[in-house]
């Protein structure tokens, strides 16, 4: 900065940018404070390969709120604590290109600053790394003139876990619940997208909410990649030039970017009018602009996409199942794609029915595993849902609106650079590639839903028909016999014929103390059935074409093949009694069988 410019204080910076930082109103401020602390905890656990166990408590203190967030993460070394919590724009990942929750190193220190500005109270941080015996406690303010931490108290404390971090802040704000934009909803949605995390949340009134861990699999931490020439902005390029260790422009290009080799570097340098021997640290804004222009005129391979970390289809399905207890769930993870040099991928999950009773679809939007609670209407992910014709997938929908159905739709956009519509990072911009991918994923889950609903309705119809026929036919038989004054009619066979069953009848005739048993198998299904038929008998059995085994009790087994509309009869002679109530059959599903039972070996 030149001397003429007055250096602005961080307090002023905060005041001017509080809408960007998430503190535009008292209700949102509390959510933002919790969000910054929880995001940090999740990121830290993910990097350290620890299953996160996060505790959040909000309590009322005087006329403001005390927020405590505690995790079992790797902990922060004592010397780093002041900078992480007490200095804005401090962060280890400022120049890294990767999919991560926070990105600017401003989140948690902005929360500390907000607390300090609204209540005048310092932040208390207690953290223990596995190497330390006791946890270190630091109480600090941010010096708003110098943007430097000011420690007011420090000490040591016992910690009951190998490592972890706890932060306590006192903030002015407005605690709300029972709506989309609330701490509760934020934590719930966070739990859905982080099924490996356990989150416990104590509300000001003492209510304890537990969001359970659904899996013990820790997601792979996203890999960082070097920037892609098509994904870089002028400001970033300028600071990269300043801070690179490369001594020449040619080496800078080859070392600091992906997809730039010797040939491509030559190509870029020629287009930009540079020799390649320039010193990067000495290049100014105009030079950077020339370079950027040359990037745009050059074709590069798309960036590698293995740096993205999806939740995964199975995990999304499992998580939705655990949180919402639907009757149907399906998830799709699309292959990574690229927009303007940035890799991205889209995941969509759909949970339907069951315990979900809402009339309109609930939409859960996530960007790099962070729930987006605000600006749903203006978000490209919402637009993508609205633009799909859900009617053709069996949901009610007014044109261009979210469908009306007891369902939850989850959309996760993962990218090294989420294209937000504004600095407040609440909604995704309408990038055609992202909308296309989202629509394709939505359509796929839609098709699966349709298949499910059709299968369900077919089954219901069949069941209803079975009930009706099962009720009406006996009534007809009864009435007919009553009018004709005849003995009751046997109708199981007719029901089997109507319903398309494999029907088994056992006819027993007794002659001179010998039972002659005939079993008739009628195949009213549409396919050939290869079955095994069993009878259990005590006494003396004679059966042609059957296997008779066992002593004392005999098992008679026939192997039969019955074509559709065919009838097969077998018979045996028995001096003794039949043990099983109905013949036993193996090789036919229970719901296609009548007059017999499915053989159960258990």
């Amino acid at each position: 900065m030149s001397g003429k410019h007055r250096e602005i204080s961080v307090a002023e910076f905060f005041e001017k940018n509080k809408h960007i930082l998430g503190y535009s109103n008292p209700a949102k401020a509390i959510i933002t404070v919790v969000k910054e602390a929880v995001d940090n905890a999740l990121d830290a656990c993910e990097e350290a390969g620890i299953l996160p166990d996060i505790f959040v408590r909000i309590s009322k203190v005087d006329d403001h709120f005390k927020i405590v967030v505690e995790d079992n993460g790797p902990g922060i070394p004592r010397e780093q604590i002041p900078k992480v919590f007490g200095k804005l724009l401090y962060g280890s990942r400022f120049h890294e290109i990767r999919q991560s929750r926070g990105q600017q190193g401003i989140g948690i220190s902005a929360a500390v600053l907000y607390a300090q500005l609204t209540t005048g109270k310092p932040a208390t941080v207690i953290s223990k790394t596995p190497d330390e015996d006791r946890a270190k406690k630091v109480v600090l303010y941010i010096n708003t003139k110098k943007n430097e931490p000011e420690i007011v108290e420090e000490g040591e404390e016992e910690w009951y876990l190998p490592s972890g971090t706890k932060i306590e802040l006192e903030v002015a704000g407005n605690y709300v619940r029972e709506r989309k934009q609330s701490v509760y909803e934020y934590l719930r949605e966070t739990s859905v997208i982080n099924p490996h995390a356990k989150i416990t949340f104590v509300e000001p009134d003492g209510t304890i909410n537990e969001f359970k861990r659904v899996t013990d699999d820790i997601p792979q931490p996203p890999k960082s990649i070097k920037p892609h020439p098509h994904g870089i902005e002028l400001g970033t390029l300028m600071s990269m030039l300043k801070s690179t260790r490369a001594t020449t422009l040619r080496r800078f290009l080859k070392e600091e970017f992906v997809r730039v080799g010797e040939k491509i570097a030559d190509d870029v340098l020629r287009k930009a009018g540079f020799s390649g021997d320039e010193t990067p640290q000495e290049m100014g804004r105009d030079d950077a602009a020339k370079l950027l222009n040359a990037f745009r005129q050059t074709d590069f391979l798309p960036p590698p996409t293995d740096c993205l970390s999806p939740i995964g289809e199975a995990m999304i399905a499992k998580s939705l199942m655990a949180e919402f207890q639907p009757e149907f769930v399906y998830a799709v993870t699309r292959k990574p794609k690229v927009y303007s040099g940035h890799p991205f991928l889209v995941e969509v999950g759909l949970a339907y029915g069951g315990e979900i009773k809402s009339e309109k679809v609930t939409l859960l939007r996530y960007a790099n595993k962070i729930p987006l609670l605000y600006q749903q209407g203006g978000c490209a992910l919402t637009k993508a849902v609205e633009s799909v014709n859900w009617k053709s997938y069996g949901m009610v929908q007014n044109r261009g609106e979210l469908p009306s159905a007891p369902a939850v739709i989850l959309i996760h956009l993962a990218s090294t650079n989420i294209p937000y519509t504004s600095e407040s990072k609440e909604s995704v911009a309408a990038i055609p590639e992202i909308i296309d991918e989202t629509r394709l994923a939505l359509q796929e889950v839609g098709r699966r839903l349709k298949e499910y609903l059709e299968r369900k309705s077919r089954q219901q119809k069949k069941k209803k028909k079975e009930e009706m026929i099962g009720k009406v036919l006996p009534l007809i038989a009864k009435k007919v016999c009553e009018i004709l004054e005849k003995e009751p009619l046997e109708i199981d066979r007719i029901v089997a014929r109507i319903m398309g069953y494999l029907h088994v009848e056992r006819i027993v005739e007794e002659r001179d103390g010998v039972k002659v048993v005939t079993i008739r198998v009628s195949n009213f299904t549409r396919s050939k059935k290869s079955i095994k038929l069993y009878e259990m008998c005590s006494g003396n059995v004679e059966a042609d074409g059957a296997k008779v085994s066992g002593s004392g009790y005999s098992t008679v087994t026939w192997s039969l093949e019955v074509k559709p509309d065919e009838e097969v009869e077998v018979s045996y002679r028995l001096k003794g009694r039949i043990i099983n109530k109905n013949p036993l059959v193996e090789g036919v599903e229970e719901d296609l069988l009548s007059g017999a039972e499915v053989m159960n070996f258990a």
């Binding site: 036919l473 009534l475 004709l484």
Partner: protein, 360 residues
């Protein structure tokens, strides 16, 4: 039990026996019954009326709907068996209410039970009267130079349909075959759709002046009314003309008198009067007499188009008239003739039309 009733009961039981036999053989019971749509009626050259063709619909217990139909039919037959054995009778409406106690076999609405009785008529070739089922519809009224003899519960009565009746006329009994025509001075029979027009003709003394028997159709005519018209035509050799409003619904009234109705084509030979002629109101009359008219509704247009594909109306006359009506997009009531005064219909319109038709 009379012999005809015995035969009728045998036929009804036969339906049940057929269902029993199918079920006994392990078959899904089904019934075949003539399809009752306009696509399955054909002209019988001999009797000159429209009867059902060879198309059959299958009612099978394979479907839930078909199973219920068969169930309800067995219950109705069971009821009729008992009724015939006890020599009792009931009305169509009573039958509908009786089904209240039948559980799953209960009828949803009266048209359903009415239709089932018609099914039984078709299946057995008997009429509902033989089942001891009566309609509650009161038959139409008759006024004109005709003397009838009716068997009533209080003995045999002889009635002259002009001298012995008030302005309301003689009420036709439900079973028209119980009356006998003694003598008459009539030259023709005129059947009229609306009560207002029938009263106008009576008040103007049309029956006396033209020796006409005036029969009130009361909208879509009951079976008894149609049976009477047929008997007047075939037994007394009197020409029958039909006078209705000028709209598609009224043409259907004429068709059911002259050609037989689609719903009861199995009885056409008993109910239809093929020699009946249509007086009007014709669409031609709306134009010719410049009658006050209403625009056709969408339903009217649909009904007119349906008439164009109805085999009973497959004649030059109806094609010309229906197409004209669609073209002028108008319909008129009988009473529109009052535009030219209350006597116009009896003094001008009817004499003109009837002489065109060769009736007077």
């Amino acid at each position: 039990m009379k012999e005809i009733e015995r035969r009728c009961l045998r036929a009804l039981i036969g339906i049940v026996q057929n269902i029993y036999d199918q079920m006994k053989a392990g078959q899904v019971p089904e019934l075949h019954i003539a399809t009752r749509t306009k696509y399955n009626i054909e002209f019988n050259e001999e009797s000159e009326v429209w009867v059902y063709g060879d198309r059959k619909s299958v009612r099978s217990a394979k479907t839930v709907k078909g199973a219920y139909r068969i169930l309800k039919m067995t219950y109705v037959i069971g009821f009729l068996k008992e009724q015939l054995n006890l020599n009792k009778s009931s009305t169509l409406r009573e039958l509908y209410y009786i089904s209240e106690g039948w559980g799953a076999a209960k009828f949803e609405e009266q048209p359903e039970s009415d239709r089932l009785v018609e099914d039984l008529e078709i299946l057995t070739n008997f009429q509902r009267e033989h089942f001891h089922i009566r309609p509650e519809e009161d038959g139409a009224t008759v006024i004109g130079p005709l003397r009838v003899r009716e068997e009533t519960r209080r003995g045999v009565r002889e009635i002259h349909c002009q001298d012995d009746v008030g302005e309301g006329g003689y009420q036709i009994p439900v079973n028209v075959d119980k009356i006998e025509f003694v003598d008459h001075d009539a030259k023709f029979v005129i059947a009229i759709e609306t009560g207002g027009m029938r009263d106008r003709l009576v008040e103007n003394g049309f029956d006396e002046k033209y020796d006409a028997i005036i029969v009130h159709l009361k909208g879509q005519p009951a079976r008894s009314t149609r049976r009477l018209l047929r008997r007047l035509n075939t037994e007394l050799n009197l020409p029958v003309v039909v006078f209705t409003d000028g709209d598609p619904w009224s043409y259907r009234i004429f068709a059911s008198v002259a050609y037989g109705s689609i719903k009861s084509a199995h009885l056409s030979e008993y109910l239809a009067t093929p020699a009946a002629q249509f007086v009007g109101i014709r669409p031609t009359d709306i134009v010719k007499y410049d009658l006050p008219a209403d625009k056709l509704t969408e339903e009217d247009i649909k009904a007119l188009n349906a008439i164009l594909t109805d085999p009973r109306f497959d004649s030059e006359f109806w094609k010309k008239e229906v197409n004209l009506q669609l073209e002028i997009n108008k319909k008129s009531e009988q009473q529109a003739l009052a535009k030219y005064g209350l006597d116009y219909v009896t003094d001008v319109y009817l004499p003109e039309r009837l002489s065109e038709l060769g009736v007077i």
